[in-house]
């Protein structure tokens, strides 16, 4: 099955070969566009549907070119119920940013102790972190609910921050460890020879070098926390409910709701999209650094 290349194509750059390479690149480009458009189609459909009336939004097949209306968006901003989405977004921001901050503060030193200066039995520690993700999340729901009730933490953003922090720490430790491993030992040794202490090395060398990794980890933790619904729905009621919980309040088994849900879905996913775009450079850099290549 070995392919025998024509002698003209070996080691030379003939016009035919150049054309073939160009064609292949062109086809790859077309393929990339097709994949991108297919991936973007549901988002485009969501945005379009949010500007349709409930009646046209529910048609099958979807009527993409139906007249536009802002009814769905008006419902999202409380035209039907008088409920503003803002408090829910504030709660989401507090829980997501709060938990992400704590995760980074705890996971970065942990990752340092598991990569640059590995503690004894570091691989067992890594495995322990992994095992915490093996239990299905729903299995922990009732115990956490009862503990939160006993502690008086139901319907507070505190309980969500605690839950999201514990959910994300294992992922963050694994990610940060792979980023920190990429830092050449020679740089740290050179700093030590120059008399740098631990704090100086950590703050002035390791953190800047790992900043793309930190950005990627932060973004992943932020996205996971922002999108979480199961615990948010169970542990909150009126004061600490988050944006995804607010989103589900538009779904009804007695009536049409597609347009308002699409408007709400787009609005809820907007902060994540913005965060993704803002951190795009760091994210690509970060993801190509560690083992998540």
């Amino acid at each position: 099955m070995t392919a025998i290349l024509p002698r003209t194509l070996i080691g030379t750059s003939t016009p035919e070969k150049r054309t073939r390479v160009r064609n292949r690149k062109a086809w790859l480009g077309v393929l990339a566009w097709v994949i991108a458009l297919v991936a973007f189609a549901p988002i485009a459909w969501m945005i379009l549907t949010s500007f349709h009336s409930e009646t046209t939004a529910a048609t099958n097949p979807p009527s993409l070119f139906a007249p536009w209306t802002f009814e769905g968006w008006a419902s999202f901003f409380g035209a039907e119920t008088g409920v503003s989405p803002l408090p829910y977004f504030i709660n989401s921001a507090v829980t997501s940013l709060g938990s992400t901050l704590i995760v980074l503060i705890l996971a970065t030193p942990a990752a340092y102790a598991l990569s640059i200066r590995p503690v004894k039995k570091w691989s067992d520690v890594m495995f322990f972190f992994l095992t915490t993700k093996m239990l299905p999340m729903v299995a922990g729901l009732l115990p956490i609910y009862l503990i939160a009730k006993q502690l008086g933490l139901l319907d507070t953003t505190t309980i969500l921050i605690l839950v999201y922090t514990s959910m994300n720490i294992p992922i963050a430790v694994w990610m940060m460890r792979s980023f920190l491993q990429e830092i050449p030992a020679e740089i740290l040794e050179a700093a030590e020879i120059d008399g740098a202490g631990f704090f100086f090395k950590f703050v002035k060398i390791i953190i800047p070098l790992a900043s793309p990794g930190l950005a990627a980890t932060a973004l992943i933790c932020f996205i996971f926390s922002w999108n979480e619904l199961l615990f948010a729905n169970a542990l909150t009621s009126v004061s600490a409910a988050t944006a995804p919980v607010f989103l589900t309040s538009f779904i009804t088994s007695r009536g049409l709701f597609l347009a308002k849900v699409c408007a709400a879905s787009f609005a809820v996913s907007l902060p994540v999209l913005i965060a993704g775009f803002a951190a795009q450079d760091k994210l690509v850099q970060g993801l190509s650094l560690g083992s998540v290549k």
Binding site: T156, I161, I251
Partner: protein, 449 residues
């Protein structure tokens, strides 16, 4: 060593500050503690509840000073949350929307506060509430919930299509007549099917209408001694009839169709008939509905019984652990009152009134004018529904389209998956019901002692 302790101290400090700050936040609603006159209400997200939310601040809160914080969720999520909340007596919510399905078990477990003081209030006028609803929400002589709106089921059809085809709909049709009519109107317009019947798995989806068909065909989930009857000839005949009808003349994608899908099919002219909740008529006759004025409504089709419509009501119950019992009672007195119905009628339109619970609603000239096409049939359907004796044999527990035991939801949902698969053509009705019999008998055995 010093450095290490500094790191630990710094981390703990940052965490403490973050948690303390977050504890102060919680922006979405008010607190229910202290002297704040506020209550928390958990409810299903039905259109009638959205109207309530809209009218509360400017009316109830303005008059009483009691702020109401609502959480509205899709039906399944709301039920799950209500079960967790009430069973733990967490006290986060003062009031929740419950139904005749939950009331018997919730009351027996001591999770609900009795509402007898509301029932005895002359302003509220409990005698005006349909007796069948009051009875369904009463346990051991105490009333535990007050209805917000009530509904039965009936058959909705396109009068214009029937007229064009020269067909007449009997006022009390039999299921066989409905099947024959479905065959005749199937294809009356391009892409129009004969009838829409729920096929989506779920005890509250396919088994809501299907259980009423089973009842009128002479079947039952359990006999009075808790013997399951899911694979009985009557249950099987009813299910086979339902599945055959929906496969032959039912809506496209029937195995995934629930109330919302059938409502869409009906308003878009994709079906000529629809058997479902009486409350659907309000949406069909709404000013922006393309089929408004074209619809006719008749009693739920029967086979061996005189009537077969279901009885359902979303009602308000107060959690026993609530610390705001008085404010919660005031809220229920307002939300379930005839005064609130008038408020909806004058401010949002009479077709949006949460009807189906009070006799006086049907004496209101404004309401009867706005709902002239369906109010009488709705009232007749609700009054003819008998939750204690819905079929041909005595039952061990009340309920028409359900059996009022906590296990019913899981049990019927499991059986419904087989029926839904039969509608999709993936298995036979016999297979689905044979599997379902084992599931139902396991539940029945628990109650046999």
């Amino acid at each position: 060593m010093k450095k290490r302790s500094r790191i630990i101290t710094a981390s703990v400090a940052v965490m403490s500050v973050s948690l303390a700050l977050s504890a102060c936040s919680g922006a979405a609603g008010g607190s229910n503690g202290g002297n704040n006159q506020s209550i928390n209400v958990l409810m299903v997200n039905n259109p009638q509840m959205a109207d309530l939310q809209k009218l509360t601040d400017d009316n109830f809160t303005k008059d009483t000073g009691i702020k109401v914080n609502y959480t509205s969720l899709p039906e399944n999520d709301a039920r799950a949350k209500i079960s967790t909340e009430f069973s733990a007596q967490a006290g986060q919510y003062d009031v929740a929307s419950i139904s005749a399905y939950e009331v018997p078990s919730f009351a027996a477990n001591g999770w609900l506060s009795p509402l007898d003081s509301i029932a005895s209030s002359s302003d509220f006028n409990q005698g005006d509430v349909f007796p069948s609803l009051t009875q369904a929400l009463t346990v051991n002589g105490s009333l535990y919930a007050e209805p917000f709106y009530g509904e039965s089921s009936f058959l909705m059809y396109r009068k214009d299509i029937f007229a064009a085809k020269g067909l007449t709909m009997p006022s009390n049709p039999t299921w066989q007549q409905v099947a024959d009519l479905a065959a005749q109107v199937d294809g009356a317009e391009p892409d129009m099917k004969g009838i829409c019947l729920r096929g989506q798995a779920g005890w509250g989806q396919v088994f809501a209408p299907l259980t009423t068909v089973v009842n009128t065909f002479g079947g039952t989930w359990f006999d009075k001694d808790w013997n399951a009857g899911v694979n009985s000839p009557e249950f099987e005949a009813a299910t086979q009839f339902y599945v055959d009808l929906v496969k032959a003349h039912g809506e496209a994608g029937a195995a995934q169709a629930g109330f919302t899908e059938c409502l869409t099919n009906m308003t878009q002219g994709k079906v000529a008939m629809w058997y479902d909740a009486t409350s659907a008529a309000g949406s069909l006759e709404a000013s922006d509905s393309p089929v408004a004025g074209k619809m006719g409504y008749v009693a739920a089709p029967v086979d061996k019984t005189k009537s077969s419509g279901w009885l359902w009501s979303w009602a308000w119950g107060i959690q026993k652990a609530s610390k705001n019992q008085d404010a919660a009672q005031k809220f229920i007195e307002w939300a379930s009152s005839s005064k609130y119905e008038n408020l909806v009628g004058t401010q949002l339109g009479w077709s949006q009134v949460p009807a189906g619970k009070r006799s006086s609603t049907y004496d209101n000239a404004d309401y009867t004018k706005a709902s002239s096409a369906f109010f009488q049939q709705t009232k007749d359907a609700i009054l003819s529904a008998d939750p204690t004796n819905p079929g041909l044999q005595p039952r061990p527990a009340p309920g028409i389209q359900f059996v009022a035991i906590p296990e019913f939801a899981d049990m019927a949902t499991q059986v419904s998956q087989g029926v839904s698969a039969a509608i999709a053509g993936q298995q036979t009705v016999q297979q689905a019901l044979s599997d379902g019999q084992a599931v139902a008998q396991a539940v029945g055995d628990k109650y046999k002692k």
